[in-house]
């Protein structure tokens, strides 16, 4: 199986994913500091706590976006025309924006949080310049993101004959016409690319609109911004960004799991329709963030719950179920790459269950803005997205290295990483169930006790990831001399 010997696409992927995973690792330590502070083990003032929390939230989203963007760009570069120059410009904008966010929080003490609900950024105890630096940083990140989305959307539309071709419209509704046309059928990984490009552009536009409005308000305090309008825009772009991360990483499943199992994954009607649904539902389920805003128009609340519920259908019926069918009695070798990828599917489902419970309006009354919220999104970000990205890196390493990971190492990495992760996450879930509010520098009982348990779990998990990193380095030094071809992925024509 020959996949790609395109060094440029490998380098771009390495740049994006390397930066993304490095930032993720740093933010794991930042997150551990926050939980240790809530446990009473690490003294932090509220100002420091919230500045680090702001940094942690904003940078993790950017870091995992970079992982998804890099992986998807690499996969689509094999199939479409993508310019490395544009990808580098997008990366530079995002890197500059991330640097501004880091400066605003670490040096300026900006603590308006990564959701920066207006008008809070202008009512804080931090220096005024740090608000501007943070807003300009987030705007730069959005510019980079939109440049990437525009490039990806354009490439997919060109490659598959416009919007209807990229959506595989005729493949679903007019099969005979499609077969006779001889047009290429988009492979499974093209659908996450289309969705990221299209939904990502819409989310980016709302982020830009809000970002510019807030920057104008920062320059001129007389400017008034409607808080409900700002809240809708904030959650629309932030929720869509967070969702698109995992959908982009789904492309790695579509290529990684067939490689690991030795089976084929092809585009089917169910897959196509599933992605159509995901493209639409991802744009409307953000309403569940505003259930407790009773002034929000009522139909949006109903739509939020229904849309959030139905989001589970394409994910579990198409992507997850298909992955399980690939693994079923496949004789798959449980390498670290396969273990991480498979475990990521579990994190996605379990996090989704937590999310669906919270997305039920009557339950949301008891869970909204408690630690249940970080519980579910940490489940699918750490237990899903991070594992997909790490799993993909290991599949790439394993495909080229002559070294193999021993059984003891696989068990050690698995037990430490997943055992620690379960303890860490249960600290959040239990605290949420006992009504402990999220974003409290000082928590009420049983928050501190649960934070101690969670901190221990997070430490064990980080040790597991560190062990995996060391094993990854060992595999990397096992490349044969002169071997330049990465063997993972589906065959594509040169």
């Amino acid at each position: 199986m020959v996949l790609t010997s395109d060094n440029t696409s490998r380098r771009v992927m390495t740049l994006y994913m390397g930066t993304g995973l490095a930032l993720t690792a740093l933010m794991m330590f930042a997150g551990l500091m926050l939980r240790a502070s809530q446990a009473g083990w690490m003294p932090m003032s509220p100002g420091q706590f919230y500045a680090v929390l702001t940094l942690h939230g904003a940078v993790v989203i950017v870091a995992l976006m970079l992982c998804g963007m890099g992986g998807l760009w690499f996969l689509m570069r094999r199939l479409t025309s993508l310019s490395a120059g544009t990808a580098l410009i997008a990366y530079a904008c995002i890197a500059a924006g991330a640097a501004a966010v880091i400066a605003a929080t670490l040096f300026g003490g900006f603590a308006g949080l990564y959701t920066f609900l207006a008008p809070l950024p202008f009512h804080g105890s931090w220096p005024y310049w740090s608000t501007g630096a943070f807003l300009i940083g987030m705007t730069l990140i959005t510019i980079g993101w939109m440049a990437w989305c525009m490039q990806m959307l354009g490439a997919v539309l060109r490659a598959y004959g416009g919007a209807l071709g990229a959506l595989a419209w005729d493949f679903v509704w007019h099969r005979k016409v499609f077969d006779a046309s001889g047009r290429p059928l988009p492979p499974p990984e093209a659908f996450p690319a289309l969705m990221a490009g299209f939904d990502g552009m819409l989310a980016g536009m709302s982020a830009m609109l809000l970002g510019v409005a807030l920057i104008v308000r920062w320059i001129d305090a007389r400017v008034l911004i409607n808080p409900l309008w700002a809240k809708n825009l904030t959650y629309f772009f932030a929720h869509t960004y967070a969702n698109l991360i995992i959908y982009m990483l789904a492309a790695l499943i579509y290529v990684g799991m067939p490689y690991a199992t030795g089976r084929k994954y092809h585009t089917s009607t169910a897959l196509v329709v599933g992605w159509w649904c995901s493209m639409l539902l991802t744009l409307t389920n953000y309403f569940h963030h505003l259930y407790m805003d009773f002034v929000q128009p009522g139909p949006f609340q109903y739509l939020g719950e229904l849309s959030s519920y139905l989001s589970a259908v394409p994910v579990t019926v198409v992507t997850i179920f298909s992955a399980l069918m690939l693994v079923w009695r496949s004789g798959m070798k449980w390498t670290l790459g396969a273990i991480f990828m498979y475990a990521g599917l579990i994190g996605w489902v379990v996090g989704g269950i937590g999310a669906e419970i919270d997305a039920t309006v009557p339950f949301n009354t008891h869970l909204h803005n408690t630690l249940w919220v970080p519980a579910h999104f940490h489940t699918y970000l750490v237990g899903g997205c991070v594992l997909f990205a790490v799993g993909w890196v290991f599949l790439c390493l394993e495909s080229r290295s002559i070294r193999r990971t021993g059984t003891l190492m696989r068990w050690a990495v698995g037990l430490l990483t997943f055992g620690g992760m379960v303890v860490f996450l249960m600290g959040f879930y239990c605290a949420g169930a006992y009504g402990v509010p999220r974003r409290y520098a000082i928590e009420s009982p049983p928050g501190p006790e649960l934070a101690k348990i969670a901190s221990i779990g997070a430490t064990v998990m980080i040790i597991g990831f560190a062990l995996a990193f060391a094993e990854g380095v060992r595999l990397r030094f096992g490349y044969p001399d002169g071997e330049a071809t990465m063997r993972i992925g589906q065959e594509v024509e040169a």
């Binding site: 009522g298 579990t316 520098a441």
Partner: protein, 175 residues
Amino acid sequence: MGVAVKLLVMFLVLASAAIAIFLVVAYSTHLPVREQHDIQQRGYAIRGRWFLSLVLFLIASFAASIPFYPYMSATAALAPARKVPVIAEQYAFIMPSRLPVGKAIIFEVTSRDVNHDFGIYNPQGNLIAQVQAMPDYTNYLRLIFHEPGQYTARCLEYCGIGHAIMAKTFTVGDK
């Protein structure tokens, strides 16, 4: 047991069932290998049933949840109730310290500065109701306290570095 703890139990049951399925599928890789096309027909049949069951379950859950939405209907808004204004500001709630038990109350919740959230904890520490407190808007929360005692209102929307200390205790009933 508070509602949220019951939700935790429900979550653990559902998550355990999902993990069990993944473990069974993972174990199957140790069984004799089968060709992909041999398992596809049966797999697609199971997928079809899963699709139908899931969609029906989700739509039924949606319909079942609607009567329990916390939003005040027009009828409820016109029903007799004591109006209690609540003004949130960094980092305090301005509201009465004593409220009646067993009588309908409509909290009129707004904010003087940034977004806050008015979350009400009962004497056992369970979060029983909440609504956002927003500048320029008033949110109406209808509630009946069935149990006397000391309740606590906490801010549940991040509002600045004093967020964690923004709380107000109030007494329900004559105690």
